[in-house]
């Protein structure tokens, strides 16, 4: 399945875009997604840390991704 990934902050700089499309297996997990992204955008591995949000909630590595989920890369936040 084709999944759109939203990027914010430094992740947007790393991707060179605020949105990229990734091809994932139907039963892919957050872990699978991170592995693919880090392969394609190695600078992701140099972040202090980063999270993935699914439908506006922080997701765990084992969570599954479904078609039409809204996926976002959340680098370390620094609001306030």
């Amino acid at each position: 399945m084709k999944i759109n990934i939203l990027a914010f902050g430094i992740a947007k700089d790393i991707f060179g875009s605020s949105e990229v499309t990734i091809d994932l297996a139907n039963d892919a997990t957050i872990s699978n997604l991170k592995y693919l992204l880090e392969h394609q955008y190695p600078r992701l591995k140099h972040l202090a840390t980063y999270m993935v949000a699914v439908n506006n909630e922080y997701a765990l590595d084992g969570d599954n991704i479904h078609e039409r989920d809204e996926i976002a890369i959340i680098p370390p936040v620094s609001g306030g």
């Binding site: 914010f8 430094i10 202090a48 506006n56 680098p75 936040v77």
Partner: protein
């Protein structure tokens, strides 16, 4: 509604925030006002740029407010956060909490700003004379 949570592109106003949380049952209000400092780690800052994942940021701030209501007897909670370009002295965030008694207002307000800085998807870029950096992004 006992919460008002907003991302705004225009100047934040402290008086408006206090007026919103105040009620006839209120005895004390604690307000935290963040401001843009002219230096960070001794280096001169020219301006800041804030970016938010808007829908999730609102939802995470609402969660924090609900956690505060669960922990302290507070009446109303307001969180206003700026996005876009901010100059030195401008206000990125105002948090206002009203309560019958001041201890709850102080404790809830501090909890909210501390937690906001840890969990809410908002990012700050510091612009220096000679470059720029996304705060906290690199180890």
């Amino acid at each position: 509604m006992n919460t008002e949570i907003k991302l705004l592109v225009s100047t934040l106003n402290v008086q408006d925030c206090v007026d919103w949380v105040m009620s006839p049952e209120t005895g004390g209000i604690d307000v935290f006002v963040g401001t843009v400092r002219n230096t960070t780690k001794g280096k001169g800052v020219v301006r800041l740029e804030f970016e938010a994942y808007e829908k999730m940021a609102i939802s995470e701030m609402e969660k924090i407010a609900q956690q505060a209501f669960a922990q302290w007897p507070v009446q109303k909670i307001l969180i206003h956060h700026r996005t876009g370009v901010l100059q030195i002295g401008e206000i990125p965030v105002i948090i206002a909490v009203s309560a019958a008694h001041r201890d709850a207002a102080f404790e809830a307000c501090r909890f909210i700003i501390d937690t906001l800085k840890q969990t809410v998807p908002i990012w700050k870029k510091e612009i220096f004379e000679d470059g720029e950096v996304w705060v906290a992004a690199q180890p």
